[in-house]
Symmetry: C2
Subunit: 390 residues, 2 copies
């Protein structure tokens, strides 16, 4: 039963679809080259997966970001999966029912990912729950916080990690019992063995628009960890952290080859930025990025205000999906739809990271000692910026 | 006499023009919102300037990036000008003639800028000369290097700075006689009083594709200076420095409100990155950016190789222009053409910088002490990145 299904008729499905619909072939090719670095080859999707997607009404798209063959290293082919989804039940339903309905929904999407041979799968930010941070209400929402070691969402996904030999990134509202029952915005990395490999917390917390998330949790304290999996080195930059290039940079310095950005963001606030930030990060750091945003409009029982002079209301806008993957050379996939649940599969060759470093030399020319020194000076209270006046 | 005028017939003029040509109004509006943050109001251009542009065959475009009125501060309206241009004579002509022909060409474009009330004007990278760095030939090109204090190009522009009460940014190949006759890639800031306010050198030097610029000069040693002008605080991030978010960040930390990025880059190498990097910098740092690229294809007398396995050749591709301005809120102007000389004028309200900082809080949430500490650790030779393994 999909109750929350009020996606406005007026919402366009995607920019990519509009470009393909109207622009003639020759010019479209140039537009796609300039905007996206070229049109990617489509991935061959098994028909069983396509049938499942059709039956369960979610989008299923697949692309290939290839790399040149090398003489010494074999290719390192990895399939990255990204899932974007709406909530299923109204936010007034009993909490466990809401969560179970999402579990059920996600299960069929993970099954499709398994059929497609996905090696690393990432879900959107706080995927098992409505994005209630807009409300600033602690009750009942804090009850949904769960353990990053053995909470219900982690346990739910561990089964699939084993069944499909798949690393799964599970972004949750974490309850940290060891440290005073505090909350955190946390991504848990579940290895393809089913074990919890570790967790990474959101480093930058918004205080902007409806996203008053510091009502619930503070800046993460796990730094810029990288997880060595069987399918490459990965890291997670959660949501608002994508606005901070220095955050992306540290994951790159620590060796990440794919950085995931599970997000939840609405069209009025960030949509013109969405296609820029994760893609810029891939380019600047010579790694792959995978940006995932949830879909749909969520309604809440009690009205809340947004600090923007407008009347109180019960929803905070349209989550516009548009999840996409970018390669280190700047080529990117089209986005998933702005309006519909979806699974994006991108086959990549991780060799492209080092190839791009060798070609463009952005890492070699980074001058990190200069910036270590500059930042150390700049953070002092008596810092005097070098401003030249007449 | 425009000799170098071989812009391939096949080059499209701009992505913006194609979108406007084919996409119906309602959907175009959404595409422009998602891609550019909305369609900007056009600036009212004096007819005398339009006539001059038509006569001299350069594009003249103007836009407004507005800000909300405030209660306490008056608006701070500034007009930013950006000029992109081809070389005029063949690269085999006597050096002084080549330069003089460019001076003459630029003069009419600056005149148009003056008519339009431009307050700060920036020219492209190494604007008085062909972009000969591809050739790796020292002779005769190094002869064109000039003083950043009183070289011919600086002197040429000082006249216009006074005449039009205009700050002008002059990007040159600098000859530093005080420091061993060495060369540098340098932007000179000429105040609207006509005085040289100071200079800022290119911080990151490419060793990529044809851009073997470290054959001529090394990494800049002027740090991240900001220039306090009558029309706001400005800084210059020259060309390849736009690939480095930490470089953009330091100009922001030092207080820049507008950062110019005079560039010279060709379509095969960087075009899909062009619309991403300067725009991402504006967003991440809550300032305006102005990215300028030269136009046309330059041919050289002697063939050179590009280290890419292809035969030696005498040109290194198409400079694709596409100069544009982005606001701190991510809204951007369309690009100037990919094929033609042009002057882009953008009227901005500098108040938008602080307004955006207050709204999005990217500066407040930047956590610089974390990164000062992380970088200080990361640059050590015995650094052990935090990599978690099973």
């Amino acid at each position: 039963m999909i109750v929350v299904d009020d996606i406005a008729e007026m919402e366009i499905v995607s920019v990519d679809a509009i470009l393909e619909k109207y622009i003639p072939e020759h010019e479209l090719k140039e537009v796609q080259r300039i905007l996206y670095g070229g049109k990617l080859e489509k991935l061959n999707i098994p028909s069983a997966a396509e049938e499942l997607a059709e039956e369960k009404k979610f989008e299923l798209a697949g692309y290939v970001i290839d790399a040149a063959p090398e003489n010494i290293r074999p290719p390192r082919i990895v399939r990255i999966g990204a899932i974007q989804n709406q909530i299923v039940l109204p936010t007034t339903a009993p909490l466990v029912e809401q969560r179970d309905a999402i579990y059920k929904r996600i299960e069929s999407m993970i099954e499709a990912a398994g059929m497609c041979g996905v090696n690393i799968l990432c879900l959107q930010e706080a995927w098992p729950v409505p994005f209630f941070f807009c409300t600033r209400e602690k009750d009942p929402w804090c009850q949904l916080a769960e353990s990053a070691e053995d909470g219900p969402s982690v346990k739910f996904l561990q089964n699939f990690a084993i069944r499909y030999n798949m690393v799964i990134i599970c972004s949750i509202l974490e309850r940290d019992e060891i440290h005073g029952d505090t909350l955190a915005n946390t991504a848990v990395v579940i290895s393809n063995s089913g074990k919890v490999l570790g967790k990474s917390r959101k480093n930058h917390i918004p205080r902007s628009g409806d996203f008053n998330e510091s009502t619930y949790y503070l800046e993460g304290d796990t730094g810029h960890r990288v997880f060595q999996t069987q399918f490459g080195k990965i890291a997670i930059n959660i949501c608002y952290g994508r606005h901070h290039p220095q955050n992306w940079m540290m994951y790159g310095i620590n060796g990440a080859e794919i950085v995931f950005n599970p997000s939840a963001t609405v069209s009025g606030l960030s949509e013109p930025l969405w296609s820029i930030e994760a893609r810029n990060a891939a380019i600047a750091n010579s790694y792959f990025t995978c940006a995932i945003n949830r879909v749909g409009t969520e309604h809440y029982a009690n009205e809340f205000s947004s600090g923007d002079g407008k009347p109180a209301h019960k929803d905070f806008g349209h989550f516009y999906g548009s999840s996409y993957v970018t390669g280190p050379d700047g080529r990117r996939t089209p986005g998933l739809s702005r309006t519909k649940d979806g699974l994006l599969i991108t086959e990549v060759d991780l060799n492209l990271c080092r190839q791009t470093k060798d070609t463009w030399c952005f890492r070699m020319t980074q001058r990190l000692p200069l910036y270590a020194e500059s930042l150390a000076a700049a953070i002092k209270h008596d810092y005097e910026p070098p401003v030249i006046k007449e």
